[in-house]
Subunit: 429 residues, 2 copies
Amino acid sequence: MSTVDSTLTSFIDIASDSDFSIHNLPYGIFSNTADGKRRAGVAIGEQVLDLAVIEAAGLLSLDGGPYFDKPTLNAFIDSGRDNWTQARKTIQMLLSSDNDALRDNQDLQKKALFQQADVTMHLPVQVPGFTDFYSSKEHATNVGTMFRDPSNALLPNWTEMPVGYNGRASTVVVSGTDIVRPSGQLKPNADDRPIFSACKRLDFELETAFVVGKGNDIGQPIAVDEAFDHIFGMVLLNDWSARDIQKWEYVPLGPFNAKTFASEVSPWIVTMDALAPFKTACPTQEPKPLAYLDEKATDNSFDINLSVELLPEDNDSATVVCETNFKYMYWSMAQQLTHHTITGCKVEVGDMMGSGTISGPTPDSYGSMLEITWNATKPVTLTGGATRSFIEDGDTVIMKGYSEKDGIRVGFGEVRGKVLPAIQFNFDK
Amino acid sequence: MSTVDSTLTSFIDIASDSDFSIHNLPYGIFSNTADGKRRAGVAIGEQVLDLAVIEAAGLLSLDGGPYFDKPTLNAFIDSGRDNWTQARKTIQMLLSSDNDALRDNQDLQKKALFQQADVTMHLPVQVPGFTDFYSSKEHATNVGTMFRDPSNALLPNWTEMPVGYNGRASTVVVSGTDIVRPSGQLKPNADDRPIFSACKRLDFELETAFVVGKGNDIGQPIAVDEAFDHIFGMVLLNDWSARDIQKWEYVPLGPFNAKTFASEVSPWIVTMDALAPFKTACPTQEPKPLAYLDEKATDNSFDINLSVELLPEDNDSATVVCETNFKYMYWSMAQQLTHHTITGCKVEVGDMMGSGTISGPTPDSYGSMLEITWNATKPVTLTGGATRSFIEDGDTVIMKGYSEKDGIRVGFGEVRGKVLPAIQFNFDK
């Protein structure tokens, strides 16, 4: 990874606490015209740079292009690391104070720069596959303590492999998508039959997801020391969960309806190049992983501050209910990707791989309401006095994330979703 | 559904035991040229009718077309039921003895008809999502008896919902694809740590899968009495499974690496229109399902004969190890699809939904080696004297399926996969 020039500045006015400094340059897909035409952009301060316009103007020429006048980033990502590097270098140069190509061209600026507040963001990639891991030891321990056995909370396979399961790619949605409260089978009383009902224990899960940038052939696992090169970038992920549906359905084949109604992601993909200055080590892995999971690299994680806020409909101010950090994750993204492919499973460009709920060591760093309220036994009090055990209709859940070091800030923006009331069903025939 | 004219004959010579009678007309994607160009065809007897050629000749004009000079069937399927009906009617007419358009045009026949033996079949659809259900009561009972509690083999949720889980769409492969024996974590000894090894208990699962023909919007469940209209057709599915990997990994989030290395399907999609004459009832459901799963229709299943053959590499003749029937499935495809979408989960055209292993009531009708050999305690003897507990390197697994009634036969052909030895890994650094 290249070293970072912290003296680099942009001719665009960027607040010092902006997630979107010139060191970040995350990619997204946006539209701002009546026809809703989607194209690629990069976030810079409070603006978005239209890469389709920049490319058409001849200022961003990549091998095999054009790539940016398209409704997803898949083709650009699939074009490979050389292009990722070239694009980042070129865009950073175009936005820098020292370069006049865009700085002194007011016409081009009018065509290529928009306020983020004026555009609509879309899913940045077409997502062929969505996988969710379960790689926070604190989260797995909390769940095991609550639902299985406090003295034996972690299952024996947990410290041996990054446990994961297949999610549903069709319902990966972008930040800002309203979430209809799901309905399904619940079993409130152990002795009675289940009932059909709206979910009563709707929860968020604070996660990140990485975006696969390079796939593999079926039957050809990705070696753990090469896995990092297969990752393009990261997003924030709210893996919406219906705890009561989950509890009744998940044995023996795992969560299904409890998770497949929506997995909401932030719109900007922060690249691994932008995150490189914030590398850090995963927690010590004991026992030492089996050879196929044993990474040479020790700086295989990232220092990313994460938070969750709750905003009830009738309230002006959100309440922070969780502050944690990605660095608590026990298993690295490289280990996750290698484990995913070790049997020969194929992964594809645009696949998203969720981290699993990211909980830290203390109750104020737990990444789900299930843990924060300890299964509704300790409701949280919000600004204004309302309390919450789980998420109620009208509530908006906002997740944020950023890295900061030596005066450089690289952030994700947010993933924000509001819960709408459940559908009223009528099964009369 | 239209009634069937059993007197209908084709000018093409079709054996009486052919799966591909004029009453069937299943859709597939094939290539037979050096450039590997893929296009749509219909199987008829031992031949395939090139629909791209027929369409270009002006003999198959559908609203919104052309549809068939494409590498997948998704666009045709997505064009809707009216086109499905029109295409079937037109193709059946073109192939009938009474119609001269193709019968008397030798030039067109040369361009449009190929021997199946001379073409390569491909995946018929691009598969956005793959879901696997677990809807055979006999299979779930057998597994529960072996691994949990014989006196309480079925878990309590099993009779209340069609239990299912998300699979991996990227590794749905077409019949004829060789399967590399997967490697991963096994735990042979309860007291020791797991080991990294090639799978020692490789198994098949005899299944069918239905292909979604009409999706839904996120947040909008598909009502059970409308679900059948969302299904385009069916294929055979061998859901390859690594039992030893599965056993160690699957608690608590379900099967993952044990299943994601390959799910192999037959190349021809048999339409629900072709299967209509073979409708039959599901087994009685007790307790009566909750209202959202309570179907009006009683002929919600199909009488489809299914079999599995094993062919060792050094043997000339395959041995039938299972004969069963789709009609044993407890939950209907309509119930599966409704349950899948009840929380608002979106399904898409081309999605495949596996039935789960289809086991019948007797040991010779069990749909996996796990059940047939009762977890390797009763190995099967093959023609020639070899025995098998699970699938060995070089073995080919062949699944077949057909319906037959009143002189009409509608079959699936086969799904066939051969097992190759595991990769030799070297983790020295």
